[in-house]
């Protein structure tokens, strides 16, 4: 399993927009490179990144009416990557925090590659 990193602040104020940074270890072979034997290295890319947000258990009760539609594993951000993305794809995006939530980023790519990482953000 390749290494996956997800960085988000551990806490945020209600309504604050936080920066989320995600990194996964992956060669992102474009298919254009050749090995030392001269054989082309097959294309092997991370194709999609999806970030979901789910309220943490304790916060769910107080928040259903207040959340901006971020209920239970809703996708707030996604990306489709192509060959021109650098190896070990890095992505930084933003998220408005309303309730204490778990952010989960999932990567999916060629040859059945999957990985995921989670981070809890407490909203004070």
């Amino acid at each position: 399993m390749s290494r996956a990193l997800l960085f988000a602040p551990s806490s945020a104020k209600r309504g604050e927009v936080i920066e989320v940074r995600a990194l996964v270890q992956h060669p992102m072979d474009t298919g254009y490179r050749r090995s030392n034997d001269g054989e082309p290295i097959a294309r092997n890319l991370v194709r999609t990144i999806t970030c979901r947000i789910a309220p943490l258990a304790g916060a769910a009760a107080q928040t259903q009416a207040q959340t901006q539609g971020a209920a239970g594993g809703e996708i707030i951000f996604s990306a489709r990557l192509h060959a021109a993305v650098a190896a070990n794809p890095y992505l930084a995006f933003h998220c408005r925090m309303v309730v204490s939530s778990r952010l989960t980023v999932q990567w999916a790519g060629d040859n059945g590659f999957t990985n995921s990482a989670s981070a809890d953000v407490l909203v004070l």
Partner: protein
């Protein structure tokens, strides 16, 4: 003119076009912003790049501006180049950025990435790292919830190109 092999190693000569070659199109008329003003920014991009932007816009009118594509003007290593895309939008359910796309002119496959945002994003700002094959242009397009599309280009000089190997 510099001859270099393309990424498939076919040893085909690919000449670097001079800065204002006839092949580039000055997009001042077709894509000028609708709002009147003393300064109407134009974007200079090849027809192929504009076609990619139009395909992403999917029929919406493409305008120049609002979106900022930020990258170092001179890049040492084209294998990993940080790029930021920012559009100032309130990100409310009524008015937010729906998606962004990034293209690179000189890469064998110019499409870099698509991003899908939502009002929960809070800020329409995305950063990633890209591979750049050669000195050329990056073109970013952002689609808004009201149906408009905004594009921006930025030129990058790449010292060590990705993809090309001896």
């Amino acid at each position: 003119m510099v001859k270099r092999r393309d990424c498939l190693g076919l040893a085909a000569a690919a000449t670097l076009p001079p800065v204002n070659a006839a092949g580039t199109t000055v997009v001042a008329n077709a894509f000028a912003p609708a709002t009147s003003g003393a300064f109407a920014p134009a974007v200079q991009a090849t027809p192929a790049m504009l076609a990619l932007a139009q395909r992403f816009a999917d029929g919406a009118a493409l305008r120049v501006g609002r979106l900022a594509v930020t990258v170092e003007p001179l890049v040492d290593n084209g294998n990993s180049v940080p790029v930021h895309m920012t559009l100032d939008s309130p990100m409310t359910p009524d008015q937010h950025v729906v998606g962004m796309a990034l293209f690179s002119e000189k890469n064998p496959e110019p499409h870099i990435a698509d991003f899908v945002l939502s009002p929960a994003s809070g800020l329409a700002r995305v950063s990633t790292r890209v591979r750049l094959t050669g000195t050329g242009q990056l073109l970013g397009v952002a689609k808004l919830s009201d149906g408009t599309c905004w594009m921006q280009t930025v030129d990058v000089i790449v010292t060590l190109a990705a993809c090309i190997e001896d």
